[in-house]
């Protein structure tokens, strides 16, 4: 299964990549929305784990583009900035779910697996 992690926090990307790698996920990373879209244009991805607050294009904007570009790709929002309004906006724009940091790695993996099921990939 191919996962794309989008976050401007490099520490977070490194840590998550290491942990997901260990669970046999194929992981790509992007540090901002624009890079994520570039990557998605060329590579099929099952699930995107997307930060909400990023410099440049924010997570909600990026989500809208992803849903236009590859509607079958499921997007999980994962944010360090809890905001009820943004949560609902993200869900309305088609996010598979909205999670808050810090997230237990097992919870994130269950969520990714569930999202992958929906996008048609089960293993």
């Amino acid at each position: 299964m191919h996962i794309l992690l989008v976050d401007d926090e490099t520490e977070f990307l490194e840590l998550m990549t290491k942990r997901l790698d260990r669970r046999n996920f194929q992981v790509s990373t992007a540090a901002n929305g624009a890079d994520a879209l570039k990557l998605l244009a060329g590579t099929p991805v099952d699930v995107v784990v997307l930060d909400v607050r990023m410099p440049g294009m924010d997570g909600i904007e990026t989500l809208k583009h992803i849903k236009k570009l590859t509607p079958a790709t499921e997007v999980i929002l994962l944010t360090g900035h809890a905001n009820m309004e943004v949560a609902l906006e993200g869900m309305t724009q088609g996010a598979f779910d909205y999670l808050l940091k810090p997230v237990a790695i097992n919870d994130l993996i269950f969520k990714i697996q569930d999202a992958a099921k929906k996008s048609g990939k089960t293993t």
């Binding site: 607050r53 360090g80 809890a82 009820m84 949560a87 609902l88 869900m91 808050l100 940091k101």
Partner: protein
């Protein structure tokens, strides 16, 4: 959907079976699977939403501190989950209830104002001259600087020349560096209940602020004000920078000593020192304090007073009333030679002058201490501690006339503010008294003045370990002794321990929210630690000599602060009359925000599913929406379809008995193709369902345990004697139990009278994907019995490797990563628990009964285990 049901009816043996084409068949299977997925996701979101609501309700009781990040986080979580619920119901019902989306948005809009930061964006000047500052500008300059400015402006008293860097200046700094969002993010990521994380967070936040650049306009404003100050005082004038926070004063809070003050700062360090003081907002003591008092982080603006250094001949602190006896008509002055710093931080004994009020004031007592050292301004070190000649060391720091002048100033300030004051002053080289700061005196409980004197020498009673000292905070507390000497000790300080330290140092204040009592060898009732202890209602005994030596390793002790004794062990007689723990959060802005948000989230108005009000238009809270969607989705999945066909569920049978259980097969949960409306337990292939069933039927249910008369509500009493309540028996009682299964997966929704529970399990060959989760809530007995039942179940499950959380009467348990056999064993455990705890709440009044029930259940559970070796500890 009607067509879909008709087609399914054909497919799975409805009333008019007709052959379906393979393509039709495949499309139907896919649609069916999608509906099952939607239902499963709805249930998961339903449970998650209820979990969040339970945690919010629990937080409202205020026993554990929480900040705005918690409130915002839980609101966002619950909203996202409720959206998920509405979305999945929409998929299940072809959008029949999409009006719920608007309801959800309406409710969100009603909650939003309570979550917004309250500190309005002030747009005032970035800096202000001190003499222009006054209480009317307290929102700009903070309480400390405002009262100083007020004294100069209205009373014409002497204060050091200087200026204030305002709240606008602070916000300009935070905005320019975009600091607040990053600070909020880091606070959200940290676990505030763990001290080591708070220490790490504090250090990270302070570095963040120190590393941020000051915006140019603020920098220029500060430097220009400094040049003005130079023009008035002299080139290169040294300054003192003092914090003056806004947003904490509302609670009459005792935050003295939490923030930074920097003395004798040279011109070139003014800007960096300003940042240091702003950063001190995130000191461990200050952060913990805000959290425990429910003060929103973003509401606190750090204003900074910047004043020319007074080359003090002497200085100190004056209390306009005796802090230990507020009603006595005395002014108490503590003073030293040199800078007043030594008095403020308690580094050595000061002279004490006691002045009797009256016309005229009279110096009643002067206790002159030996002061072999003093603090002076030093061009290199800022301030330095220097030795003084012998004769000077013995000399009084203030003359009688000066002491009376200081006392008069203290009295005038009290009169001016209408409150007893605690003021810091300096004696200028020209002999004049300069006021450095003044704030309301934090008052001590009057009761303690009447405390009888305790024996100071060897304790008479055999169980008394130490006695004596001063009651700094009244009450009785019990717990294991934890001696704290350095920060590392603080990190491992256990919840409910008795804090024992050499000095009542302010840096132990963060421990008070978890301490049962405090005992220190040194320290006074007027100190910061004592203030915080009183605020938190933690009994504290200070000035107990020999405490460290006699209490270290003593295990459990009972601290009787009222009688100034520490007893070995738990002394129940003393603990009996202890007041209930104080709700620290009550009345705080954070608590108010949560209360207001919860009003739109937690209350349930849609109680009766058969009432006409059970409709989207009547949903007023997120709980209403959740309840509505759950009920409707269950109807959609399990009950009659709108064209009169049974849904996709089949009723479970065991031989000839029809059971009150319905089963939905997600894909491969049956051993064979099953036609008709029934499926027999022998046809089930789902591992987790069979394991669950094994636990449910292993021990026949003997009916509810004998309960005391009060425990039973009549509504259940009749039903409880009904032998048909056995799960393996057919019954007419309103029990609703639904299984959703595949070969490796099982979800059970069980409703038994007032008792709801969910079991979900995945048990396959990959341990990393295996999990078991369990949730239950409700019951018919009163809350305290239901809570006790939840705790009993929690213990049983924890001993069998579950992670368990109990919130009020709700229980959430989870376990993951075990191999298939071990996972199935734990599923069987839950099967037993589901059946045998149903009406346990009725019996939960009696401790003896609880213990014997627990033993029986423990034995039964161990009997359920197969060879996989559940660790029965």
């Amino acid at each position: 959907m009607a067509g879909f049901f008709r087609a399914l009816g054909k497919l799975f043996g409805g009333s008019k079976p007709e052959p379906a084409s393979p393509a039709e068949l495949e499309a139907l299977r896919a649609a069916y699977r999608a509906r099952c997925e939607s239902f499963r996701r709805l249930l998961a979101a339903n449970n998650a939403a209820l979990d969040v609501m339970a945690s919010m309700e629990e937080a409202l009781r205020g026993l554990k501190p929480f900040g705005m990040t918690f409130v915002r986080g839980q609101c966002a979580r619950v909203a996202a989950n409720v959206f998920q619920i509405v979305r999945q119901l929409s998929l299940l019902t072809s959008g029949r209830f999409d009006a719920l989306y608007d309801k959800l948005k309406e409710i969100q809009a009603r909650i939003a104002p309570h979550l917004a930061p309250r500190s309005g964006q002030v747009r005032g000047p970035l800096v202000l001259p001190l003499e222009q500052a006054g209480v009317d500008l307290a929102d700009e300059v903070g309480g400390k600087v405002a009262s100083l400015g007020e004294v100069a402006r209205r009373l014409g008293r002497r204060i050091p020349p200087g200026f204030a860097i305002t709240a606008s200046g602070y916000q300009r700094f935070m905005a320019a560096a975009d600091l607040q969002p990053e600070i909020d993010r880091r606070i959200q990521a940290a676990d505030a209940s763990r001290l080591d994380e708070v220490f790490a967070l504090s250090s990270a936040l302070r570095s963040l602020i120190l590393a941020a650049a000051l915006p140019q306009d603020l920098e220029e404003a500060i430097l220009a004000s400094y040049r003005d100050l130079e023009a008035r005082t002299g080139p290169g004038v040294r300054v003192a920078l003092r914090s003056s926070a806004i947003g904490e004063d509302a609670l009459g809070a005792s935050f003295a000593g939490q923030y930074h003050t920097e003395l004798n700062v040279p011109a070139e360090e003014v800007l960096s020192t300003y940042k240091e003081i702003v950063a001190s907002k995130y000191g461990v003591t200050a952060m913990t304090y805000r959290l425990t008092r429910g003060i929103p982080d973003e509401d606190v603006a750090m204003c900074v007073g910047c004043m020319a250094m007074v080359g003090a001949l002497a200085g100190g602190v004056a209390y306009s009333r005796d802090p230990l006896d507020i009603r006595a008509g005395r002014v108490v002055i503590n003073a030293v030679a040199g800078l007043p710093k030594a008095v403020v931080d308690g580094s050595f004994d000061p002279d004490v002058f006691v002045v009797e009020r009256g016309e005229p004031m009279v110096l009643a007592r002067a206790e002159i201490a030996a002061k072999p050292r003093k603090y002076v301004c030093d061009p290199v070190e800022g301030i330095a501690l220097v030795e003084v000649p012998e004769d000077e060391a013995q000399a009084p720091s203030l003359s009688e006339a000066q002491a009376l002048e200081v006392a008069a100033l203290a009295r005038d300030l009290e009169e001016f503010y209408g409150l007893p004051q605690d003021m810091e002053f300096a004696l200028a080289p020209d002999g004049g008294i300069v006021l450095l700061q003044s704030r309301p005196l934090h008052q001590t409980e009057a009761a303690q003045a009447a405390t009888p004197a305790a024996p100071q020498n060897a304790p008479a009673e055999p169980d008394v370990l130490v006695s004596g000292g001063t009651t700094a905070s009244p009450g009785v507390g019990c717990g294991p002794v934890c001696v704290v000497k350095k920060d590392a000790d603080a990190l491992s300080f256990p919840q409910g321990a008795v804090l024992v330290a050499a000095q009542a140092h302010p840096r132990w204040a963060p421990l008070l929210s978890r301490a049962a009592a405090v005992v220190c060898e040194a320290g006074s009732a007027a100190g910061h630690l004592a203030n915080v202890a009183r605020e938190y209602g933690v009994p504290a005994l200070l000035g107990v000599s020999g405490a460290l030596e006699r209490l270290a390793g003593a295990g459990d002790v009972t601290v009787d602060a009222d009688n100034r004794r520490v007893h070995a062990g738990r002394v129940e007689a003393l603990l009996e009359n202890r007041p209930a723990p104080r709700n620290l959060m009550e009345g705080s802005p954070v608590h108010a925000a949560l209360t207001a948000a919860c009003e739109h989230i937690v209350p349930l108005h849609l109680i009766n599913p058969d009432a006409p009000e059970f409709a989207p238009g009547h949903c007023r809270t997120l709980h209403d929406i959740t309840r509505f969607c759950h009920e409707l989705s269950v109807r959609e999945m399990y009950l009659a379809g709108n064209d009169g066909l049974e849904g996709f569920s089949k009723q479970l049978t065991s031989g000839k008995s029809k059971l009150k259980y319905w089963v939905i097969d997600l894909e491969d949960g049956f051993k064979e193709q099953v036609t008709g409306r029934f499926v027999d337990i022998g046809q089930i292939a789902s591992g987790p369902m069979l394991a669950l069933w094994r636990g449910m039927v292993a021990v026949p249910w003997a009916g509810p345990p004998a309960a005391d008369a009060k425990g039973f509500l009549s509504v259940v009493a009749g039903a409880a004697c009904n032998p048909e309540l056995d799960p393996t028996m057919a019954t007419t009682f309103a029990v609703k139990n639904y299984f959703m299964i595949s070969r490796e997966f099982c979800n059970l929704q069980s409703r038994f009278g007032f008792h709801f529970c969910t079991v979900e399990a995945q048990a396959g060959d990959d341990p990393q994907e295996n999990y078991v989760s369990f949730q239950f809530k409700g019951g018919a007995a009163d809350l305290s019995r239901r809570v006790r039942r939840a705790r009993l179940v929690a213990e049983l499950l924890e001993e069998r490797d579950f992670r368990v959380e109990v919130r009020e009467d709700a229980l959430f348990a989870r376990l993951e990563g075990f191999d298939k056999a071990a996972t199935l064993d734990r599923v069987a455990v839950l099967g037993y628990v589901v059946i045998h705890t149903r009406q346990l709440d009725m019996a939960m009044a009696n401790d003896g009964l609880i213990a014997s029930l627990r033993d029986k259940m423990d034995k039964d559970l161990n009997g359920l285990l197969t060879a996989t070796g559940l660790s029965a500890k």
